[in-house]
Amino acid sequence: MDEYEEFDEFEAMYADDLEALRDQDYDEVPARKQLNVAKEKPAESQDLFDDDDFEQVPEVAVSQKSQVSKGGQSQQLFGDEFGACSSQQSRKFQSQKSFEDEFEPLSYEVEKQPKKRTIRALFGDIDDIIEDEIQLPKPKKLKDTGAVEERLEEYAMIEHIIELRRLAKAKSDPLAVFSGSYDLCTENFRDNISYIEPKYTAISIVNWEGVKIYLRFHSEQFQREEMQRFRSDLDSAAIMGEGFKRTMDEAKEILSKECRESNNVEEATKAIEEDKSLLWVDLYKPRKYLELLSDESTNRTLLKWLKLWDKIVFNRRPKVVPKKPQEEGKFKNRFELNLELDESGRPQHKVALLCGPPGLGKTTLAHMVASHAGYKVIEINASDDRSAESFRTSLENATQMTSVLDSEKRPNCLVFDEIDGAPTASIDFLIKYVNGAYVSKSKKGKAQKGSVLKRPIICICNDVYVPALRALRQIAFVVHFPPTKTARLAERLKEISNKERIKTDLGTLMALGEKSSNDIRSCLSFLHFFKFQKNFVTLSDVQKTSIGQKDMQKGLFSVWQDIFEIERPKAKGDLVTLGSRWNKVVSTISAFGDYERVAQGVFENYPTMQIKDSTLNSTCLALEWFCYSDIISTQIATLQNYSLTGYLQFGFVMWNYAFASFQKQKITYPNAGANARSGALKSKALMTEVLRGVRPGTRVFLGGKSVLLDVLPLLSRIVVPTLRPVNLHVFSKQEKDEMGRVVSTMIDYNLNYIQERQQDGTYSFNLDPDINGLVKFPNSRSDSRQLTYFNKQLIAHEIEVEKMRRVEAAKYVDGNRAPTEKTSKERPAPPPSAKIPKKPEKAAPFNFLQKRKKDSSKTGSGSAASSAAGEGSSKMEGLIWYKYKEGHTNAVRKRGHVSDWV
């Protein structure tokens, strides 16, 4: 049953019908078991019933038929038990009917009696004449015993019942007329055939079982009357009566249901034979999931994805097969379906993206799967208006509303067909919408919270590498459509051509499939076309005609494959000549068109191919052609001289000659060129940033590229002096000079070290702007000398101090001797230590500091303040204060004498 687990949607839809069917089924099963116990005979019917577990649709018909056959074949053998079971059955049928209560008990009574009666006694041997009579509420009795008198009594009773029933029917059933006439008819039969020798004139015949039967002779007049009566009864229904009517009704119901459900191909064919305008593609479209031609695993994957939505759409737990634990260690495939749901109960991928070459049945699959899973499909394709605005409207309509008029009220499933042609704005909108980032505006102008997508969306495209789809590709569940198997396609084509009475054979159809690269659509069009020309298709027809060989667009990778691989000749006699390779490559390339991208792919892939070219001569030649095509395409781009385009394709032939081999080659998507371009842009932006910061006085002299080529590479070394990782005031004079030089250089070029948190939680000081990224190369040898963390910190600090000092110096000059106190107030949050060294230089209010200046003023050190000057500061009446700076200390433990400070 698990193979059909997907059917439960279908079951949901037709629950009522199925239930009714099942009831019958269950009622019947015990009966059948009884039969089984009684004898081993009805194996075939049992088989039928096993099947019926699945195919509930034809069940009723089958069960009845099987019963009929039993009635026909084994009446003699069955004995009482069959009577019992058939009575049970008939009771069931009756209970379904709308008998009026008053009649019911009576009919029951009657039905229990027939055990003692024989059907032959009632009707004669009529099994072969009217088999369907089994439907009648008259049970059959098999035993051919009992006295005639006894039977006659019972006749009266039966006639009474029949009469009553007829009356009842007449009230409720228009077909009652037939049953009336039927009764008459049977009565006549009763008189006409007999096992025992009758009183009337009769002829004796022997039936197939060797039992003697007597048939009554009628007068010619009677015969005429009879015929007349039959004719007046209009149709055969009269013979079979109400049982037939019910059977007919049920059959009709079943048929119409089948029509609705699966649209049986024959049925459709009949309907459409009148309507010749329909294309075969539509005519022979798969109507059932099982009829899909596409790769089963693909179908299954998509269906599984769609079923994941059950949680949010139908509020039902999707059947998820728990993953085996050992799989977790495995590398997670990108194309593997993630079965987990997110917090809102939706699958991880909100969008499925079906991609593959045309004619494989992507659209069909999407429609089929969606309706299979119980959705109403809303399709938006290239023929619809797909501007961002209308796209938005349709998207919102489809996902947030349900159709009121639709009787079934099924949820929507959006199918975006041919999305690779949609404008980028629309696709961007789709992505935003899917991610829930889109904020819709209500009429009041208030921004509402972005609504959550609650309906599945399936996108279909031919080329998944269209730039517009790049972002969508990241978030979507990408299903690559593998080509249909030629054999499977040919089989289906054969089936269709049989139906259309086209004479052909499987080999021809295989060739056709191959020629059209398994494009179902073009194959069908081809057959359709030939149907109108002549009624047969031969292999030569397929090979000769150009039909089916349309201007196909292959995928990028298959184009590259055509360039890098020489196709092995199919027949043994065929040779792969340069000419044939030429033709193949030119036709592929000119059909594809995007020369630049293909050329880039060839360029980036050829070194990984196994090429035997020790002299490098052919490689040189091939590279010449790269240069040539580059120049041509530049000319085309700059001068819009598109007449040159025709020359571009021949380079590919040369590359095929130089690089192709019989081996299967692994081709990767070319990224290096694009990466280099974006990298170059990035470094250019960084360069502008650096130049912006350079002091104007220096900037004037830095023209063009010389900054990048000469200044920065050397500058990055010059600002890395050899310094001991000790505190500033322990530096020697030389080191202090060095430090001063580095600081002023870095200020000139607006460089600084900034603290950055590394991934491992530690901190490091990095240059900002990062000129190292600009001038350093991978195998650089200048990395040997590195400043320690401490020195970088020191330099960063010094730069800040020096900058402040310069600003204040400028103010001092400009602002008519503005007092230092004032400036310190103006600057909002200067590092407090920055002000200390200034005091001795500018204001020098305290004696003891002047003394100190003798040994330490030259350092201009701000950082000295934190520990050493701190002692002095306590005496300084609150002019100096401490501020605890997290993670920053210049403290160095060092022995010192008080006399040094005072």
Binding site: P696, G697, F701, G704, K705, S744
Partner: protein
């Protein structure tokens, strides 16, 4: 002002270290109070900008040294906003139109017009014209150069142009004929050595002549580069050692390494690794011609005379074609493959000869 190259830059025409005669001529030029458009050209690091600034100082006084940077915005006909940095003083404006790529024409037209249309406020105390300094004129597109030539004449009353270029070959004849051309040749090695040594003396350092010569040779007669290398040398190791390593820019080292790789092995696999290196150079924004030239220089070291001429011929051919193309990597790789091919054949011939 603490890189030596910046710190010890001469600020007066009389104090320049070389081309003294030319400096005097320039001084005379300014003394008349007026001068024509100038086209100052010469190789990188020869001192063009230094002379231009000295000239301006001569003209307007020390006020020229009070510089500020400004960002100007222009709107292209297609309504695209283009931003460009300018360095201004009260008397002149300096801009590099090549910064904005294909929009340089807009910059030239708008900028010159706005500057030229506003007259100086006080004609008595100041010159009656402003100066526009355009750098990298040889990088300008043809359109921009054509736009320049009419404006040059039209607004000559209010502004003078000083054009800086590395070479006049890419400056159209029309512009060259409208300017007084001043060539600033690169300093000779001797001049560089003397400047290096005097600079070191000012810094209180002692530079051995041999090291100075080495630096001068490595610097390609580029004075700025020479000074920077010298300073980097000093940072790496002081006191100087004659045999100490001369630091070169990373990209230069990188190309040299690449050349060595090419000479070491000739195969398609090697081409692939070289390609990644080339991409690296392109990402870092190293100009294509420079890559080509440096690479060729390095490769030629491994060739004999006959092979040399062949390689140079091919290099010229591919470099020329590169200018017509757009994807430079194709042309680099074609050249490298060609070199490999030639070199391999050459080696095989040599080895089979014995």
């Amino acid at each position: 002002m603490s890189l030596w190259a910046d710190k010890h830059r001469p600020k007066d025409l009389l104090k320049v270290d070389y081309h003294k005669e030319q400096a005097e001529n320039l001084k005379k030029l300014t003394q008349q109070g007026d001068f024509p458009h100038l086209l100052v050209y010469g190789p990188v690091g020869a001192g063009k900008k230094t002379r231009v600034m000295c000239l301006l100082k001569e003209l307007y006084g020390p006020g020229v040294e009070r510089l500020r940077m400004e960002q100007m915005t222009f709107t292209t006909p297609s309504n695209k906003k283009v931003e460009i940095m300018t360095v201004n003083s009260n008397y002149h404006i300096e801009v590099n139109p090549a910064d904005v790529g294909i929009y340089d024409r807009i910059v030239i037209m708008d900028l010159i017009k706005t500057v030229a249309q506003s007259q100086q406020l006080d004609v008595n105390t100041q010159r009656e014209f402003k100066v526009i300094v355009l750098t990298d004129v040889d990088e300008l597109s043809k359109d921009a150069q054509h736009a320049l030539r009419r404006t040059m004449e039209k607004y000559i009353g209010n502004c003078r142009l000083i054009l800086c270029a590395n070479s006049t070959s890419r400056v159209t004849a029309a512009i060259r004929s409208r300017c007084l051309s001043i060539r600033v040749p690169a300093p000779t090695n001797e001049e560089i050595i003397s400047i290096l040594q005097s600079t070191c003396k000012k810094e209180g350092l002692n530079l051995p002549t041999e090291l100075a010569l080495k630096i001068a040779e490595k610097s390609d007669r580029n004075l700025r580069k020479a000074l920077l290398i010298c300073e980097a040398c000093k940072v790496e190791q002081y006191p100087f050692n004659i045999n100490q390593e001369i630091p070169l820019p990373d990209w230069h080292v990188f190309i040299n390494d690449m050349a060595k790789e090419i000479v070491k092995e000739q195969s398609i696999q090697k081409i692939a690794t070289v390609r990644t290196n080339l991409y690296e150079l392109i990402i870092h924004g190293i100009p294509n011609q420079l890559i080509f030239k440096t690479l060729l220089d390095e490769l030629l070291k491994n060739c004999d005379v006959e092979l040399k001429s062949k390689v140079v011929e091919h290099a010229a051919f591919y470099e020329h074609r590169m200018q017509h193309g757009n994807k430079h990597i194709f042309h680099f790789e074609a050249f490298i493959a060609r070199f490999m091919c030639l070199y391999k054949k050459f080696i095989e011939d040599v080895t089979s000869g014995f």
